[in-house]
Subunit: 327 residues, 2 copies
């Protein structure tokens, strides 16, 4: 007896979020995962996972992949997701966000696939916002202020064109910052954790260099993000945009302090002007009630839970050290 499979095509599957999507789906009996990678695949013995090397800039290969595997769902994670990188390398950032997304839509159209696509956007699309609009609802006007954010707004606009003009089935997100164990240290929280652990291990009092610590961001645990993504593929409405957020804001200063508290190692910080972006949002907090109400999602992790998981995954030594000091 053959089992009807749900086939998920996951682009950018080797990245931070990809790892958690694979973990979430790989052990479902009826899920088959087609995971794309650019350079090096992850090793896996799971027979529900097929790895395919794809340059997403190459439309022809994408069409072939979709025709060959006939996915029911596409989770498009491949992206250049650093705002800072987009200020330094706008051309590359833009291409690796919007052009590859457009290729994906074209490939689905040309392959005549009826699959559902998850278009992952960003809270950065809201841009500089008025305080009275906080927490941000999906109806808030978009005012992108970085090259990265412009690419994300363009992605939403292109999605709408492909939904209305070509009948594609796309659910859209505006994902707020996410974090969790194994995130690259280019991102702010892993960078803080790494630096405080280094200071602690070498018993150093040298201040850590940071950007603007007064900005407020809404961080959601990557495992809660992934739960929302799969929920939206299964229960979200086509053409609708959903905030993926914790609903809570923390200053980066507060997060740094929590990291120091968990590690029980206080460090000072100084601002390095090189880390200041040309134009940044002072406060971003997202209203997640649409997600909660429409797909009955709720987050499982609090800020402190995730910070602890990051610290312990990063440095088991620290865990012991902390534990020793606690007891």
């Amino acid at each position: 007896m053959s089992v009807i499979k749900n086939k998920f095509l996951i682009t950018g599957a080797t990245g931070f979020v990809g790892k958690y999507v694979i973990e979430y789906l790989a052990n479902r009996a009826n899920a088959q995962l087609i995971c794309t990678y650019r350079r090096i695949p992850k090793e896996t013995n799971n027979r529900n996972i097929i790895w395919e090397q794809v340059d997403l800039n190459d439309l022809g290969t994408l069409i072939t992949i979709i025709k060959t595997h006939q996915p029911n769902y596409i989770i498009h994670l491949a992206a250049e997701s650093s705002v800072g990188y987009s200020w330094k390398f706008p051309v590359q950032s833009f291409r690796n966000n919007i052009n590859i997304f457009l290729n994906l839509l074209e490939a689905v159209k040309i392959a005549k696939s009826s699959c559902r696509i998850l278009s992952i956007g960003s809270s950065e699309s809201y841009g500089i916002v008025n305080k009275e609009n906080l927490p941000l609802k999906e109806s808030c006007p978009l005012n992108p202020v970085s090259p990265y954010a412009v690419a994300r707004v363009s992605q939403e606009l292109l999605s709408k064109v492909y939904i209305e003009g070509y009948g594609l089935d796309i659910v859209l997100t505006r994902s707020f910052n996410h974090f969790g164990p194994y995130q690259d240290t280019r991102f702010v929280i892993p960078s803080f954790v790494s630096k405080v652990i280094d200071r602690k291990n070498s018993n150093s009092k040298i201040p850590i260099e940071t950007g603007n610590l007064s900005i407020v961001r809404d961080f959601l645990d990557v495992r809660d993000v992934v739960k929302a993504y799969i929920g939206l593929l299964e229960k979200g409405k086509s053409g609708e945009v959903y905030n993926i957020s914790s609903g809570e804001g923390f200053t980066l200063q507060n997060i740094l302090s929590q990291i120091c508290d968990i590690l029980q190692y206080p460090v000072q910080s100084i601002i390095n002007p090189d880390f200041i972006r040309p134009n940044d949002n002072p406060v971003i907090i997202g209203d997640n009630s649409k997600l909660r109400e429409e797909i009955f999602w709720q987050p499982a992790y609090k800020m402190k839970d995730t910070l602890e998981d990051i610290i312990y995954s990063r440095s088991p030594k620290s865990k012991i050290s902390v534990a020793t000091q606690i007891h």
Copy 2:
């Protein structure tokens, strides 16, 4: 005694609008024109014009051009300006609109040029509009409904990022349809003219195939468009968006009738479904009062003037023929 030159870098100078920009500027004593082309330059003996072969997808070459010539003004005409083409070839259309525009901004930034850039956008950015918003003011919300229009909205958003984030000097337009002698027959009015002339020359009664003739568009003579572009470079406000429009709307049916009237050769039309776009705007008319008030621009040509100029430029035989029939 050396004369201070105003140097204009004109991208896409071999195109329809480029021809008229060159005509407008080339005989100014203090203007030097650096005209870029991709494949074949226009011949010219005017020593105020330098032709440079540039692939605008190549950022390095663009930087060199800007560093070498140090333009005071850039008129960025290079674009894939057909909405129909963008529905057929979205990937190529998008790249030749937004990616080359981003390269241009990057080149100006990297070359540390303080030049003023004219970012030419489109009325298509308004998308499907409510009747009560007609004629469209610049404050009307943008709702792009074609791949072409998304690229144009993205261009505005990127311009704002580069103005606020990097201090570039950019004046923006939303140009409504323009037309005039020597426009490519891929565009609707030259296509109508060409078909009616063909029917007349062969005394044929075969109906001409068209798209939706009930849509209303605001067509401005290309010579009035160019006058607005140069005026905006000289007197427009950085970061501001200006409609470039006639302020009047005509159905395509009405324009076809006027062409038949001028040629004194009535033809029937039938709709070819291949010419119908997946999603189109029923009515677009632009309010040009901001342009009139801020730079004291006014149009010199009426619809009928331009149609006559197109017809006579296209077929001197028709002119004689019409003249013979009139007298």
